[in-house]
Symmetry: C2
Subunit: 466 residues, 2 copies
């Protein structure tokens, strides 16, 4: 029997390979990865630049050697350039030339790439995206930073004596990566200019949460340029300024965080259907439109549990989970890849920000709901317990069904994982009233008697009933 | 129309009164409270003794005066001594004598009381329970402590210069209160001897979590006496020693934490049915067996969402929620009091401990399940992110249905509210597999890619499938 072939050696691909080999140790699995790094935590890259993570290698879950020990035929530096779904072969370009590989089943796990905004100057020196390990290393080198210091074990960055050679950096795009990188740059004493063409940063988290983050970013010294489209990155060899309609802002470096796009071209060229989002369409088992071809991770769509429609939210857990499920399916145990709620969390300096489901009313309307939203602010602890901080929750519900559709939260503590309560409720299809009746934990150091989620659900339920 | 009458002015009673008056401002509501304090956070008492909370008044949510401003006829110092469910009257003993009060509807919210273990010497000076505000004040006075210092605002106890006049204290009973009070006493430099007749403390949390807590208690200097029944509290006027079969342990004070019992006698004498747990039986709206009589809070049963049977778990949220629901029902909007999962969290020095549902396999078997449990230890953050701490989760599932039945957790961070994900899943009736497929949040500072809950569910699902 031909081997299982996997295109892409990151979260989805390596999860599938590992699960498959564990369940079907006598079968062969070949992974082609065009780069050199495999199975690394891209979400940790900002913390490598910041200095909280000492070595790029620390971000690697398992090394290439460890995967080989598991019996996985892992070929780094090998790019799959074509798929023939009739012949069930892939065409591969490797260091020793081009060759054809047959497959029994194929998994397309080609991931996503950082988008570059359509402005001049993105090819100047000192202009970066942050979508792979090498990019992070190049950024640190450009900043003139040594390897990060050894962590002091206290859970805090040990701080830097070596201040960056760069005085000011532009972060273009106020998404996750932009906000995380603003924190990373600021750690080195660099003045950060954050440019966002929309009225708010962190679009998936909604305006209410974003407004709190923005105030905090400014408190931390980040210069915010909202409603500001970058027209050009100026410079001769290296970037020296960001040009907007408001004028020029001098900078020594720029980080482009304009979002990501699925690397779906390989699949598309092979006649595999893409979905409405532009990512590869998959069914509940991760199967594509082509027989014996699966897709998972940042290249693929997944089913949104709120809308029950295909969605594209390229995040690490989705990739790992879908990869693992497909590995099990290919080994003979059909396993669903699972739905997504678009749950995400983010650290923004001292704030935690989180979201799940449908947060934006317009998006909810497009999905056929009649959205109502409330924003409430409560404490993170009992009112009398020292150190309580505000937690702001925006909750969105459907006036017709009473269903909870989504929520965002922001605060200094107790936010990032509290969103999971809401995410679980979304998976369950709970109404706002159902959520308001959940038996959640209470102890004075950790929550008010009515957890903020309960309070938000209660207020939302009241408004939905109006 | 006769007024709504409420017996008991704490969480359940005052929540009901407030909600009722808000929804039916033209109706009368009378609350009889035999003590002087109303609507206070009993869960904060250990932190008052510890010194984290400055004044007893800080524990009060709303003062008697504030309730009166809301139009609630609140009579402190008034004890209801009899209910006549035929005549729809209560007999009340107040400071000005005894009288009869008619009711349209009655809410019994008489709470619970601290149990005293059946040993000699519990009436000695220096022997305390911690079930109300005055008890907490008496403990601080006996310890010779001034009022707690003003919090320094940094979320930490400011520490005490005034060391207790008491050198050693016995905590009899290793439940919530016992463990929280051990921390409170230790804060003042008092040697704490914790006596537990069972092999482990914190029975509702299960042996696996308790073992971790016990190791931590010992690290913090608490002397643990497990498997040790206290036979007598010795002393002439005041307590001077705890007598066990292993001999005498000299102490200067003792705190009895032997659990609580519902104050159900008033209802029972009126012919109102008690349930299998000994608390007042209620239906889904909080109605008792007597027409026009409701019960809520620590005196009443609630429906367990896992077993679908009556259960008695006297906790603050349940009381608040049921009170509020009954207030709405009495005002004309029938509202269910909601089920409980027995969700609870606890701070034990530097540890967070939490539980929900059925954690004990024996209890699960009694409820008709075929329990299987797993214990897994994972990290609280991404493996490469500084400061990650271990989180240990024990998850219990039903081999027949695959359902998740409950879980306990313990760790230094991210535990107390992470249990809410499991609690929500229990409300939804999810299987272990369902839980393993939840889209939970991930960001390196807050979680591994696979949240500990997902990992535990995945391992449990694997074992259930065996």
């Amino acid at each position: 029997m031909d081997p299982i072939v996997i295109v892409g050696g990151d979260a989805a691909g390596m999860s599938a390979a590992s699960k498959f080999k564990r369940e079907a140790p006598d079968r062969d699995v070949v992974v082609f990865e065009r780069g050199e790094w495999v199975s690394y935590g891209a979400c940790g890259l900002p913390y490598y630049v910041k200095g909280d993570v000492e070595e790029l290698d620390d971000l690697v879950s398992l090394s290439a050697a460890e995967f080989e020990e598991r019996g996985i035929d892992l070929r780094t530096g090998h790019e799959v350039v074509a798929i023939d779904t009739d012949e069930r072969t892939v065409r591969v370009v490797g260091p020793d030339g081009e060759f054809t590989q047959s497959y029994e089943d194929l998994l397309v796990a080609t991931g996503a790439r950082a988008l570059e905004p359509p402005v001049a100057g993105t090819d100047l020196d000192g202009v970066f995206t942050l979508h792979d390990m090498d990019a992070a290393a190049r950024i640190r080198a450009y900043l003139g930073l040594d390897a990060p210091p050894v962590d002091d074990g206290a859970g805090e960055s040990a701080g830097f004596d070596d201040v960056s050679e760069v005085d000011a950096v532009a972060v273009v795009g106020g998404g996750y990566v932009g906000v995380e990188m603003a924190e990373a740059f600021a750690e080195h004493g660099i003045t950060v200019h954050l440019f966002e063409m929309l009225p708010h940063t962190l679009r998936p988290f909604g305006a209410e949460a974003a407004a709190v983050v923005e105030e905090h970013l400014e408190d931390e010294g980040v210069r915010l340029h909202l409603n500001t489209a970058v027209e050009e990155l100026a410079g001769t060899e290296s970037v020296t300024a960001v040009v907007t309609e408001d004028g020029e802002v001098p900078v020594d470096a720029a980080l482009l965080g304009a979002g990501v796009a699925p690397n779906a071209e390989l699949a598309e060229r092979a006649g595999i259907e893409l979905g409405p989002t532009g990512a590869v369409a998959t069914d509940e088992f991760g199967r594509t439109s082509a027989d014996h071809v699966y897709a998972a991770g940042d290249v693929a769509e997944a089913r949104n549990v709120v809308t029950d429609e295909p969605d594209y939210v390229p995040l690490a857990l989705t990739a790992n989970r879908a990869g693992r499920a497909i590995g099990a399916t290919l080994a003979g145990e059909p396993t669903r890849t699972g739905g997504i709620a678009g749950t995400a969390a983010l650290k923004a300096f001292d704030l935690e920000v989180a979201r799940t489901g449908l947060v934006d009313e317009d998006a909810a309307r497009e999905a056929g709901f009649d959205p109502v939203s409330v924003t409430v602010t409560t404490g993170s602890r009992a009112h009398y317990y020292p150190g309580s901080r505000e937690i702001q929750i925006t909750a969105v519900g459907d006036a017709e069904s009473g269903r909870l559709l989504g929520a965002s939260m922001v605060g200094r503590e107790g936010v990032a994982k509290r969103i999971d309560t809401v995410a679980t409720a979304l998976h369950a299809g709970f109404t706002a009233e159902d959520v308001s009746m959940l038996d959640l934990s209470y102890a004075p150091p950790f929550s008010p008697v009515w957890d903020p989620v309960l309070t938000a659900a209660k207020v939302l339920d009241g408004k939905l009933a109006d």
